[in-house]
């Protein structure tokens, strides 16, 4: 187990380093002159020079890269020129909001998607099953930003049940989290349904029934445990997706998370903050993938470090 985790951890660190480099290239190399990007086209030569020395942009690229790497290792991603403070600090301050949003979305997805899938598996090809499979197809095609707008209109403006923006309450997170979750509820339900149908045909299900185990327990304990392994894997990936997709939802709902911070920073050319936001999200994405591997390993008794 330890060796397995260490191996995966090593891979994750390498991937994170690659991501860091990629972000560096995009922000520092692609645009040509970052100073011009920061100041806009009307900047004077004097201003440009000032900004360049401020941000170390007058050094050769390799040196900038090494300094940047060193900074990252010390948790320093530079300062936000707009907000003044440490870019990473600003970002991490808003991370809990994004995490809350994604977690609630994940919980909603599981709470609705899992039982829905089990219900579909009970009567495949019947009304509910067809409804869910169509719904999952349409749900993934409807743009989430518009869905969010419609939900605001319906539940916040018309019905007045839920607040449209963050007010710190649990109710405030429900609407954005639901918007984030909706496309994936049907998707998860399909996954659970197919797994349950496949597992439900296996001999051990008959054994459980032969022992006199009630049908509900047969489905949720015996079958459920066996589809848990693929489902848990997918949930980790889903959480990573939620953190990334939250960017758009946060803008729609003015949710004070990393996503809205990042979009704000991009429009204001605050690249230190952009870098910090992208890195935070990417690292959590990579960490979630790592976690999935470990959980997968722990859940399936048949896996050993050799065959995992």
């Amino acid at each position: 187990m330890g060796a397995f985790v260490a191996k995966r951890l090593g891979q994750a660190v390498i991937v994170a380093w690659g991501a860091l480099t990629l972000v560096f290239i995009i922000v520092r190399v692609v645009p040509g002159d970052p100073a011009k990007l920061i100041l806009g086209p009307d900047a004077s030569a004097d201003q440009l020079k000032h900004v360049r020395s401020d941000f170390g942009l007058d050094h050769p690229l390799w040196r900038q890269y090494l300094e940047h790497l060193g900074g990252v290792l010390h948790g320093d991603l530079g300062d936000s020129w707009r907000l003044g403070g440490s870019a990473l600090g600003d970002t991490l301050e808003r991370f809990p909001a994004t995490l809350t949003l994604s977690l609630v979305a994940l919980v909603l997805t599981i709470l609705l998607g899992f039982p829905l899938g089990m219900l579909c598996a009970r009567r495949p090809g019947k009304v509910l099953d067809l409804l869910v499979s169509t719904g999952s197809l349409v749900g993934q095609a409807v743009p989430s930003f518009w869905l969010g707008i419609v939900l605001i209109l319906l539940f916040a403006r018309e019905l007045g049940w839920l607040p449209a923006t963050a007010d710190g309450s649990l109710a405030g997170v429900l609407l954005p989290a639901f918007t984030l979750a909706l496309p994936f509820i049907g998707w998860l339900a399909r996954l659970v349904r197919n797994g349950a149908l496949e597992e439900g045909a296996k001999d051990y299900v008959r054994t459980a029934r032969a022992k006199g185990v009630p049908e509900g327990l047969v489905q949720y304990v015996h079958v459920g445990r066996n589809i848990a392994v693929p489902v848990v894997t997918v949930l980790g990936l889903l959480m990573g997706n939620f953190i990334a997709n939250a960017v758009i939802i946060e803008v729609v709902f003015s949710w004070p998370g990393i996503g809205s911070l990042m979009v704000d920073a991009i429009t204001n050319r605050d690249y230190a903050v952009v870098e910090a936001a992208v890195l935070t999200m990417t690292v959590s994405y990579i960490a979630l993938n790592l976690l999935v591997d470990v959980v997968y390993f722990a859940l399936d008794p048949r896996l050993t470090p050799e065959n995992a």
């Binding site: 991937v15 994170a16 690659g18 991501a19 480099t21 990629l22 972000v23 995009i26 922000v27 692609v30 645009p31 990007l37 197809l137 349409v138 993934q140 095609a141 409807v142 743009p143 989430s144 930003f145 518009w146 707008i149 419609v150 605001i152 209109l153 403006r157 990573g240 997706n241 953190i243 990334a244 997709n245 960017v247 758009i248 803008v251 729609v252 990042m262 979009v263 991009i266 429009t267 952009v274 992208v278 999200m281 990417t282 994405y285 990579i286 993938n289």
Partner: protein, 294 residues
């Protein structure tokens, strides 16, 4: 005896695949797509859209409302009186253009990288695969936002951005089929006979890659459409003076209470087209997947 039965079986199998019924929903999806392409190509010629025009008398007309000039705005008008139907058609053209160009560019890059890395293998393959790993470790929407933000809004830039986020997928698929073809006997014999690498690649390896590549491309078209709309919604996509479904949804946000149609019309169109792409993609995959033919 066997010489007679084997071809007969093959013919029967072919007849069976040829006669396989395409489900109705795939036809419906294909019909929607055909309509979309037609609207994107011809529509803007018949109902031109003027992004800078303002007709304040006609602002926020509901669908079916009559404008000051006496014409009917079938899908309503926006906050400065521009016709949403014309806007929809102009947006369809952008959506089609961006999705098509992205998939062609991304697919071409992916094809070359995938062929080279799958056919030759070795250290080059290792490097390219690791680059792909790193990029896939990145949520693609983040990469798109970052790139689009740095490059600035323009149609070319958004195609570049989205193609960069997609090439890995294509490269992976092509690499897998190139690798499996490389090991086939007839490719070996071609090499022994002295065929050059380029000739083998083009004549033997490439044909086996088309089908998976095309199936992947249909799936990606839908994803690219949503990505373009998302970027435009955030103001990072097409320039402000260009009609885009995502941008129109964004504009409509401010008029939700009074004019729900501004956001809804392009969003519904996008959902319809992307669903159609999904349905057609599924049908396409089922038809080309040899396993589903058994």
């Amino acid at each position: 005896m066997t010489a007679i039965t084997v071809p007969a079986e093959g013919a029967a199998a072919r007849a069976k695949t040829g006669g396989r019924r395409v489900p109705v929903r795939v036809w419906v999806g294909a019909g929607v797509l055909a309509l979309f392409v037609l609207a994107a190509l011809v529509g803007p010629l018949l109902w031109p859209y003027d992004p800078v025009a303002t007709h304040l008398a006609d602002r926020l007309l509901a669908p079916g409302g009559r404008t000051a000039t006496g014409s009917i705005a079938w899908l309503g008008t926006d906050q400065v009186g521009r016709d949403l139907f014309a806007n929809l058609l102009a947006g369809a053209r952008i959506t089609l253009l961006v999705a098509g160009a992205t998939v062609v560019v991304g697919g071409a890059v992916g094809l070359v990288v995938g062929l080279v890395s799958g056919y030759f293998g070795g250290p080059l393959d290792t490097v390219l695969s690791r680059v792909g790993d790193v990029q896939l470790a990145f949520p693609s929407i983040l990469l798109a936002i970052l790139l689009a933000g740095v490059l600035g809004p323009s149609i070319t830039n958004i195609v570049i951005t989205l193609a960069i986020t997609r090439w890995v997928i294509f490269a992976r698929i092509v690499r897998a089929s190139a690798m499996s073809t490389r090991r086939l006997e007839y490719v070996d014999s071609a090499r022994v006979l002295g065929c050059g690498h380029l000739r083998i690649l083009v004549r033997h390896v490439l044909p086996s890659c088309w089908q998976p590549l095309l199936v992947a491309a249909t799936v990606q078209v839908g994803l690219v459409m949503v990505a373009e709309a998302s970027l435009s919604f955030l103001g990072l996509g097409v320039p402000v003076d260009t009609a885009s479904w995502g941008a129109t949804v964004s504009i409509g946000r401010d008029y939700l209470g009074s004019a729900w149609w501004i956001s809804t019309v392009p969003a519904a169109a996008l959902a319809l087209v992307v669903t159609a792409v999904g349905v057609v993609g599924d049908g396409f995959r089922d038809l080309s997947d040899p396993r589903s033919q058994i």
